[in-house]
Symmetry: C2
Subunit: 197 residues, 2 copies
């Protein structure tokens, strides 16, 4: 056994514990607290197992989708989470996330550093069927929570239905069926009074 | 699109948000708080992506391992988490978890209810190479955190090195190499003074 290799892997695994402390602008369904990025990553990975039938592309490599979802937020350990509706900050963040990716994945043995960096890049570039579906789930999940917790984040940040729709295009790119579902959910949220029209 | 099917899936996805509120007897590396079962599931799924080379069995179906790890704790939403070292309570829990599994997975469309129930059972029975490796990771992760947070849980519950070893046999069944690593880690913990010999 190459001890150096295993030590590097275990060091990485211990460090990514920090993702459990990266707080998102989404609350849990019961509104008890804000969600963190590790829980969010788990949630969308389970969604991938259940919803892959709705992908716009056929014959998805499901393992690749799940891998991407499990690692896509790791760069936040160094770069932090950026609120989707904060457009200015999101642009400045790109360079920071690229540096964070090199620093974090560089802790791993080279073959795995390359694998995870490649997965993260594929997710960000949104060009493959797998990354498009993964992005769709990543974008859809906070809307599901937002509806279930009666607009905790939408009310707090005065976000309207049109703003949500304009920021959720990745859902449509990955899945027309889930996009249709999302639109109906937002209409219900407006009708029920916790999302501005 | 079968609306009833998608509604069931989304209802399930919304309900499993509750796993984020199931608290475990493990603290985060920085000791800031206890870990919850959703974060734990994410953490061991990432471990599966990085450590599968150490499985005792060759040619693992990695997607199956990851699926098992993502859903194995879901029954805790109804049954709660049971502390590994509470042997009496753990036996009584088995029947409760079986009922919880039927109730929870029964929310899904039938094909997916069967798939998730089968995955959960396979994990519990520990007979396939995939479930053995999954169990090994599930058992190893709290030891990694325990070492990194300097024995938060071991000190709190007065747990000795022998007690840890006797409860961590699944690691050996899934991976001799990770078992060797675990033993060395516990020896270091004893030497550094936060685990009783």
């Amino acid at each position: 056994m190459d001890l150096d290799r295993l030590d590097k892997q275990m060091d990485f695994i211990t460090r990514i514990d920090a993702l459990k402390s990266v707080v998102r602008q989404t609350a849990l369904v019961d509104r008890s607290r804000q969600e963190n990025s590790a829980e969010h990553s788990w949630h969308i990975a389970v969604m991938a197992l259940l919803l892959s039938e709705y992908s716009n592309a056929e014959n998805l490599d499901l393992l690749r989708v799940v891998k991407m979802l499990l690692v896509h937020d790791l760069v936040e350990i160094y770069a932090g989470d950026t609120f989707l509706y904060d457009d200015e900050k999101r642009q400045a963040k790109e360079e920071e996330e690229r540096r964070a990716s090199e620093k974090l994945f560089g802790l791993l043995p080279q073959d795995q550093a390359i694998e995870l960096h490649t997965l993260w890049q594929e997710f960000e570039e949104e060009r493959t069927p797998e990354s498009r579906f993964a992005k769709a789930l990543d974008a859809l999940q906070p809307v599901l929570l937002g509806y279930a917790n009666k607009g905790w984040s939408w009310e707090r940040h005065s976000i309207s239905k049109d703003q949500v729709l304009s920021h959720k295009k990745p859902v449509r790119i990955g899945s027309e069926q889930l996009w249709e579902y999302l639109q109906k959910l937002l209409e219900k949220a407006v009708k029920e009074g916790f999302l501005q029209d």
